[in-house]
């Protein structure tokens, strides 16, 4: 059921003109090691369209000053642009209010903010946090640190052999009512699995727990509606959404942001300060100490406008086509193991080629002009679970990926096997 995965678009998607989109991304027409670039590492970080690059340049050339400070026109313009970006993020996630959006540096910082402010401020020692076996380290290590510092228990929800979250196990973990937070990925950065966010939130809430979704991968590929999935916390990062590095987004329910203590202390997050003490500003400023990523916020706003002008439904349909194509083409490569068989999955494929180590394979593919990631993709426990301790290669798609690039990858994999054969 699509609603359970946080997908609300149900109208037939207009077709997406890949070649026209590719023309917006200057880097896609460059060559590397003498070959045209075949960029299949968007899951690590996506390329940037001209619209984002120009918006950031224009901000610096025409409209830049610090925000929330100057009583002069330029600073007021910059503040308006920064807050407009917040409003765009709220619309993008269908958050009830712009003030429910906190800008961070990236998803990692967003999760650390929740682990610190909600974890230490609102969870009691003896309560538990549930994560899954397929988390990125960004949604595992902060909770290990919270466990060690604050005395909460960390519980690990299993995945099935198909790479889906084991909801029966999640029910078991929630059964004693001691879980204060379920923090899971909305889409695995290794297996491509899209988790049933709505169902997870329902289970968590029935057991009295809050729920956080790491949407770093999911928000790029599908329309996310934080109200429809009933998320308490949701985060994503700008640079995977065709925006700049240095900016991430945390959505949290208003009442949680109001109740949580601050994360970092400093300027902009205070109401008043004496030499002895300070009082906090209202959210979201309470969580945005120091000069924020102003230019990056403008870039992220441009990125959101860009993907929305194409349409998240069209992007999802295009990527669904790529996934189906990859599932048809890649298994024909002799000796190739594809990881993850989730029914609902996005355009992320981890694979291993028999007899060829992931790093050798990535070097070979690089020579063919294909950029893939090799290693354990910041998910060491998942690779242990998959029996792939030595690492995998990962191809991940974006809105500019062509089906022909997947064919070319398959051809290169055939050649790689012969090279090492």
């Amino acid at each position: 059921m699509v609603e359970a995965a946080g997908v609300t678009d149900s109208l037939p998607a207009p077709a997406l003109d890949v070649e026209r989109i590719r023309a917006d991304f200057p880097i896609l027409s460059t060559s590397h090691r003498g070959r045209p670039l075949v960029f299949l590492d968007s899951g690590a970080s996506a390329q940037k369209p001209r619209q984002v690059i120009r918006a950031m340049s224009r901000m610096m050339e025409e409209a830049y000053a610090n925000v929330h400070r100057g009583a002069y026109h330029l600073s007021e313009c910059a503040t308006a642009a920064y807050e407009a970006a917040r409003a765009a993020c709220a619309r993008f996630l269908n958050a009830p209010r712009a003030e429910d959006i906190v800008f961070t540096a990236n998803s990692t910082m967003a999760i650390n903010l929740v682990a610190h402010s909600f974890g230490r401020g609102m969870l009691r020692p003896g309560q538990a946090v549930v994560v899954s076996e397929m988390e990125h380290h960004a949604n595992l290590v902060p909770w290990q640190m919270l466990r060690d510092a604050h005395g909460v228990e960390l519980r690990i929800c299993r995945i099935t052999d198909a790479g889906e979250l084991d909801l029966d196990h999640l029910r078991d973990l929630l059964a004693d009512g001691r879980v204060g937070l379920v923090a899971v990925t909305h889409m695995s950065n290794v297996l491509g699995t899209v988790t049933p966010a709505g169902a997870i939130a329902r289970l968590a809430h029935e057991a009295g727990a809050r729920v956080l979704f790491d949407g770093s991968q999911a928000a790029v590929h599908r329309r996310v509606d934080v109200q429809a999935i009933d998320a308490d916390f949701y985060c994503f990062t700008g640079h995977k959404l065709y925006g700049p590095t240095g900016i991430g987004v945390l959505y949290a329910r208003s009442e949680l942001l109001a109740a949580m203590p601050p994360f970092l202390g400093g300027g902009d997050m205070i109401a008043s300060v004496t030499l002895e003490r300070a009082t906090w500003a209202d959210p979201p400023a309470k969580f945005e100490a120091g000069t924020p990523p102003i230019i990056e916020a403008v870039g992220l706003h441009a990125a959101i406008d860009y993907v929305e002008s194409i349409g998240m439904a069209a992007i999802e349909a295009h990527e669904h086509g790529l996934v189906q194509h990859a599932l048809a083409v890649l298994p024909r490569v002799p000796g190739l193991t594809l990881y993850g068989r989730a029914r609902d999955r996005g355009g992320v494929f981890a694979f291993a080629l028999e007899g060829v180590h992931a790093h050798d394979l990535a070097t070979l593919l690089d020579r063919a002009g294909i950029a893939v990631r090799a290693g354990r993709h910041c998910a060491e426990p998942l690779h242990a679970r998959l029996g792939a301790e030595a690492g995998t290669c990962r191809a991940s798609f974006g809105l500019y990926t062509r089906a022909a690039e997947i064919d070319y990858l398959a051809e290169a994999l055939h050649s790689a096997r012969r090279f090492f054969g």
């Binding site: 050798d360 070097t363 020579r367 290693g375 690779h383 301790e389 030595a390 690492g391 050649s415």
Partner: protein, 156 residues
Amino acid sequence: MMFDDLRDLYQEVILDHGRRPRNFRRLENATHTARGDNPLCGDRMELFLAVEEGGRIADAAFEGRGCAISMASASLMTEVLRGLTAEQARRMSDAFRTMAMTGSCPACEGDIADGMERLSPLAGVHEYPSRVKCATLAWHTLNAALENSGREASSE
């Protein structure tokens, strides 16, 4: 063939040692051992040295898993270490790491010249900065074994 121009990195001797690493076993009479680990890529190895009383390396062997570059580097290393003194082995380790990072080897002369010649197929790795650590893992592990500190070596 799509990858012919990769023969500078994957020379036949590297592919051969990568596929069939030599001295790939535990050494029961080892006097020095160390583990090496590249946590980011999952490569790991355990190195065994049998050093005679006079300080000469009588035997060297290893076990582990890794890419063709790291396996070939460890395999070739165990071959060239035999007969060297610990002091020569340390100098060779320094020279190898310079070669892997720069492609040239100003210290590859004198009493370690023959061994360095055998290792020279790995010099091509300097063109691939992300792969240098694959080639140097065995040599970091060698330094740890010679110190016999029991610390885990890493070339990250």
